[in-house]
């Protein structure tokens, strides 16, 4: 973990030991525990894991969008360009949200306001951050729609969200995220989950090319290993609120070290070993209840390699190579 500190200057975002809890009527949900990560400038980091593993909570923490209460940031730091975002006031956050950090959400169907035209919604982001006349904001919105390859952007800008297809809406969402004055980090929370496969590929390609063009970093949150392979530079695998493996994308697919990562990769239909097979391999068991989770490894109850120590102590970092670490007592070698 200490190795991140040496490279702080090149890091756009650095999360240190973040824990986020939610107080519910049934008890405290430990959604994210001791999470540390860094994103370098112009890098794409993928945060991978299944539903409820704390990916979205992490993303919302960065943006200051965790509802408090019931949410509490238990501990940790979120350092963006050298400043701890968790110490900022709501007013200060408004100059970061949508200015330096923008966000794309999972559901393009519900993430755009149904009663305003998309041009108007994008123009509003310009108007919030720039002192420009309304017409200019609107024509800039049209330019952005053109940039995200929406056909006939002038007419489309005057359309309401329900008049667009899912893929077009997601493009409009990306355009809205690009309306930030100086986008430094784009957080994409499952940007392609709601889209069909051909559109998924288009949207991913679009995001990667825009990222390069604008020179921003991308935090990609997904459960889809295919998406990871196609877009990410580095990957963090999360399980039940914990980081369990971190690696560059090649090492991760080549030599997965955590039993959970291995399980995820084994369950991919595109995996070579499934040629001619009729059943996919699944990870046995289910995700533990975050309410009753203990201090052991959260994957222990599903893990074929688990020993007694796994159930009581969460392991420390085991560096495998310079860019590859795993948090496992008994990792795959």
């Amino acid at each position: 973990m200490k190795k991140h500190d040496q490279t702080t200057t090149a890091n756009l975002l650095e999360i240190q030991d973040l824990s986020v809890h939610f107080n519910t009527q049934r008890g405290v949900v430990k959604a994210v525990r001791d999470l540390s990560l860094t994103i370098k400038k112009e890098e794409t980091l993928a945060l991978v894991g299944e539903s409820g593993c704390g990916k979205s909570v992490t993303a919302h923490s960065i943006n200051g969008l965790i509802p408090v209460p019931p949410g509490i940031i238990e501990k940790g730091k979120i350092i963006f360009e050298g400043e701890n975002l968790l110490q900022k006031t709501e007013k200060e956050m408004q100059h970061i949200r949508g200015v330096r950090i923008s966000m794309i959400f999972q559901e393009p169907m519900t993430s755009l306001n149904p009663v305003f035209t998309i041009g108007r919604q994008i123009a509003d982001v310009f108007l919030t951050h720039h002192d420009i006349p309304r017409e200019e904001a609107f024509s800039r919105a049209v330019n952005l729609l053109d940039m995200v390859k929406i056909p006939s952007p002038e007419t489309r800008a005057k359309s309401y969200p329900h008049q667009l297809s899912g893929g077009m809406r997601q493009r409009a969402m990306i355009a809205m995220a690009l309306a930030s004055p100086e986008p430094g980090l784009m957080i994409a929370d499952e940007p392609t989950t709601a889209l069909d496969v051909t559109i998924q590929a288009q949207i991913l390609r679009l995001m990667v090319s825009l990222k390069k063009r604008v020179g921003m970093s991308l935090l990609l949150i997904t459960h889809d290993m295919g998406v990871v392979a196609e877009t990410a530079d580095r990957v963090i695998v999360m399980y039940a609120g914990r980081k369990v493996e971190e690696a560059d994308v090649y090492s991760l697919f080549d030599k997965p070290a955590h039993p959970y990562t291995l399980g995820l990769l084994n369950s991919l239909p595109s995996n070579r070993k499934y040629a001619g097979a009729s059943r996919l391999e699944a990870i046995p068991g289910t995700v533990p209840d975050l309410l009753t989770i203990n201090d052991g490894c959260p994957f222990a109850n599903r893990c074929p390699r688990a020993g007694d120590i796994c159930r009581s102590v969460f392991p420390g970092e085991t560096p495998l190579t310079e860019h590859h670490s795993v948090w496992c007592h008994n990792h795959v070698r």
Binding site: L65, I96, T110, N113, V115, F116, D124, T128, H129, H162
Partner: protein
Amino acid sequence: MLSYILKRIGLLIPTLLGVITLVFFMISLSPGDPARVMLGERASAEQLEKLREDLGLDRPLHQQYFSYLSRIVRLDFGKSITTGRPVIEEIGQLFPATMELAFFAMLLASGLGIIIGVVSATKRNTPLDYASMIGALFGVSMPVFWLGLVLIMIFSVGLDLLPTGGRMNIRLYMETFTNFYIIDALIALFRKGDITYLGSALKHLILPAAALGTIPLAIIARTTRSSMLEVLKQDYIKTARAAGIPEGKIIFRYALKNALLPIITVIGIQFGLLLSGAILTETIFAWPGIGKWIYHSISARDYPAVQGGIIIISTVFVVINLLVDILYSVVNPRVRLS
């Protein structure tokens, strides 16, 4: 958009025809002989015969219906049995009074109700929210006749700030054109530069509008609160926040416009209810409106008056519904296409 509005207006005609037909048959099916009821027990056979002939009651029902229809289309509702004046004239005088009262009551109820609802929703589960919602509960449960009397006792009798009733100081004589006193007073203001009429008309409006508007205000506040809470949970609000849009703009523009849809429906329904439900308020504040007039016409068995009154109120009800639908499509672009 335009074709949608035209289509909606086209649908108005069968609705109104239905209303008119229903009123006709309800009255002709009501028990007893209208002529006998109107003239009383001691009327002679010739008198009864004469009245039946005058009212066309001796003709077959379908003939009565069609002649009734042709008269209604020409806005001829016959003559009031109690006053002998044409019903349409009486309505022309009384209806604006009720309309004015209901309009200002609704203006008050919608304006305040939406503000209270929005504040309640954004300050959810704070003392302010609890206070507003308890206040709203009181408002809904408040009987109008009691509230009206209390308002009179406090503001007219106690503080001597506002008049106890009527539409204008009786010592003032104002030329009337529309019988909407606020409009007439504005005309007087522009023609003569005299503001006393407007002042008096407004002063007379405050208490009855407050009494009549209390229940709708409470209902609108509650609807606004729950609708806002629902909308504030939506993904697009999160999108707007993530884009750095200031919270005030998110609440009053992004959220409220979506939350308005159910609120508009409630406002429309409440407005319709106010028109027919203004009787109590009109009685307490001596407001010469149509509610009180219909009430008296019913007890006097003044059939032409009752018919005319019901048809006018129903028509306004239907027209308000139309306006609500049009407004709905203005606010909600998804309605326009369907």
